[in-house]
């Protein structure tokens, strides 16, 4: 019988991570960009839980909580910055945010 091994989870989590990474690189909307970052972190969480289960070691599951907390804090700061920036520039598209440069 075919069972789900850590390798399958590895593929899933790499896919999620890769989609998130592409999102960060390609998308121009800063909100979507923040969402893609979250997707990357969630891909990591999937892998962590799967590895933790396959190795019967609880450290990985514990790590997930830390990642979730940090991700929440990061997004809170990110959204706050985004709102402040939107008030100034009336846009959340990265091509309009171009004050810095030569």
């Amino acid at each position: 019988m075919e069972t789900v091994t850590p390798h399958h989870f590895m593929v899933l989590s790499s896919l999620l991570f890769g989609i998130g990474f592409l999102g960060v690189v390609i998308r121009r909307n800063l909100l979507v960009l923040l969402m893609s970052l979250e997707l990357m972190l969630n891909g990591i969480n999937v892998a962590l839980v799967a590895f933790s289960r396959s190795g019967s070691n609880l450290d990985g599951s514990l790590f997930v909580f830390f990642i979730m907390t940090v991700a929440a804090a990061e997004v809170a700061v990110g959204l706050a910055l985004l709102v402040a920036l939107y008030k100034k520039r009336k846009s959340i598209f990265s091509e309009d945010i171009n004050l810095l440069g030569n």
Binding site: L37, L41, L100
Partner: protein
């Protein structure tokens, strides 16, 4: 114990109305830390919190480095905030919180601790970079830093997860167990054993590369340096200095800890990789810095080049693997010299009264030596130390670095470094010329712009601090003290 003091310090300063309390408190902390370090020699390595934190001499030196740097940031920041009319409580609070994070970071002995400390620092920096909320540039720099920072921590995390996956269940990934009963798949020791057992495992290699990529983002090494000029350009001046000195030093200390600790088994695979990164970083940083008109961007890119030189020292420390920690001390010396020189430069830049804080250009510095000899002297000596011109400490630091790289037989990186130093003298010299030499007479047309250096006479305390920094960087050029004994 010192950590407790630091936490206490944060609680104390948040209620303080002005930065004076914060400055005072941090200097007490710094002096206390130095005394503690001088009188009770912590020679034995100590481990706390079930091996999550380990204390040693090197970590101790780095901790005093971070305290000194946050003290200087507070001093520069105090004047900056007063002039801009920004609130000061949060600024000093966040600076100290970031410093506490940095201090924890260099003691961490476990990937969970490493991640948490790194994120503490990063979150403080995101806020600090965007501290000047009225300026769209500062906000833009903040959001850019946040996106790139979050991306880099995601890469780092993915690397940690790959290592954890193999560590928790080596057989599933074709690796063999390190002969070790006690299992904590995130601790440095366990993973170090695992990696020296299986240096060819693909998952482990991918994990190591991803972790190094995450750290390369933080130090601004070559393929990951795109955020550096923009963030340096937009952030408030004291924070630019903080980013350039503390954040980079922390990245290097973590890198040093990793490649000489858990990743030691992989050094044959990592050396060429780091060599490529270092060479690319040196060339990119120096060449891009030549093209800049804006001083802050130029300093950011020259910081990238310095990161390249320091990477060569990291490689040398890998070559010297074992008991010989000479390269590590050279790296520390370089970092201290870089701190002194950077704060000289940023301190004087912070004194200028420009309409737009982010647009320091070379032309603003013309005739500074005539308008205010001491500021001109401090600035020139800071730049000269960064460039590595003989009487200053920067020269000795570069010389030590080159000699260490030569002994480690890193000839290719060494060549890149020498070429890089020569290029860097070009753009540093352009700036020095603007300060020191009188302006050519043909440019006497428009002179209605207000003089940015008019308010320079009202700065007694800053003057003392900056002159002290300059004297320190000249003295270190002649006498290297405990650092020189290494040779």
């Amino acid at each position: 114990m010192i950590l407790g003091l630091e936490l206490f310090g944060m609680k104390d300063s948040s209620s303080g109305r002005t930065g004076v309390i914060a400055i005072f408190f941090q200097s007490v902390l710094f002096v206390g830390h130095l005394l503690d370090y001088l009188f009770w020699h912590h020679s034995a390595a100590l481990n706390f919190f079930s091996d999550m934190i380990s204390q040693g001499l090197q970590a101790e030196v780095m901790r005093s480095f971070f305290l000194l740097s946050s003290l200087l940031v507070s001093i520069i920041g105090h004047r900056y905030l007063c002039r801009k009319g920004l609130k000061s409580g949060e600024f000093h609070h966040l600076t100290m919180l970031a410093t506490a994070g940095l201090m924890l970071l260099c003691q961490s002995n476990h990937f969970l601790m490493l991640f948490v400390a790194l994120e503490t620092v990063a979150l403080c920096f995101y806020t600090l970079v965007a501290y000047n909320r009225d300026s769209a540039k500062s906000l833009e720099a903040g959001i850019k830093y946040l996106i790139f920072g979050a991306l880099s921590s995601a890469l780092l995390l993915f690397g940690i997860v790959l290592l954890y996956g193999v560590g928790a269940n080596p057989e599933a990934w074709g690796a063999s167990y390190p002969g070790h009963e006690f299992m904590d798949p995130l601790s440095f020791q366990y993973l170090g054993n695992l990696m020296s057992e299986n240096p060819d495992n693909l998952m482990l290699r991918a994990g190591v590369v991803l972790i190094l990529a995450g750290i390369a983002f933080k130090v601004g090494a070559a393929p990951f340096q795109i955020w550096v000029p923009d963030v340096y350009h937009g952030s408030p001046l004291p924070i630019t200095a903080f980013l350039g000195v503390s954040s980079k030093a922390a990245g290097f200390f973590v890198l040093l800890n990793l490649v000489n600790g858990p990743f030691e088994g992989m050094s044959e695979f990592l050396l060429p990789l780091l060599g490529f990164v270092a060479t690319f970083t040196i060339f990119f940083g120096n060449l891009a810095a030549c093209a800049q008109r804006n001083v802050k961007r130029m300093l950011g890119l020259s910081g990238v080049a310095h990161a390249g030189y320091l990477l060569v020292a990291v490689m040398a420390s890998m070559q010297f693997a074992g008991d010989d920690d000479r390269a590590i001390w050279v790296l520390f010396f370089y970092l201290f010299v870089y701190l002194l020189a950077s704060f000289c430069v940023f301190g004087v830049m912070g004194l200028a009264d420009l309409p737009d804080e982010n647009e320091h250009e070379f032309s603003h510095y013309e005739d500074l030596a005539k308008k205010s000899p001491w500021a001109g002297f401090v600035l020139v000596s800071g730049i000269a130390s960064l460039a590595g011109i003989p009487p200053f400490a920067g020269f000795i630091a570069k010389l030590l670095l080159i000699s260490v790289a030569y002994e480690a037989k890193l000839y290719l990186s060494l060549t890149a470094m020498v070429i890089g130093v020569v290029i860097s003298i070009y753009y540093y010299f352009g700036w020095m010329r603007a300060i020191a030499l009188p302006r050519p007479a043909s440019f006497e047309d428009v002179e209605d712009a207000p003089d940015p250096w008019a308010g320079l006479s009202k700065t007694g305390f800053m003057k003392v601090v900056l002159v002290l920094l300059t004297v320190a960087s000249i003295v270190l050029g002649f006498w290297q003290g405990p650092f020189g004994d290494v040779f």
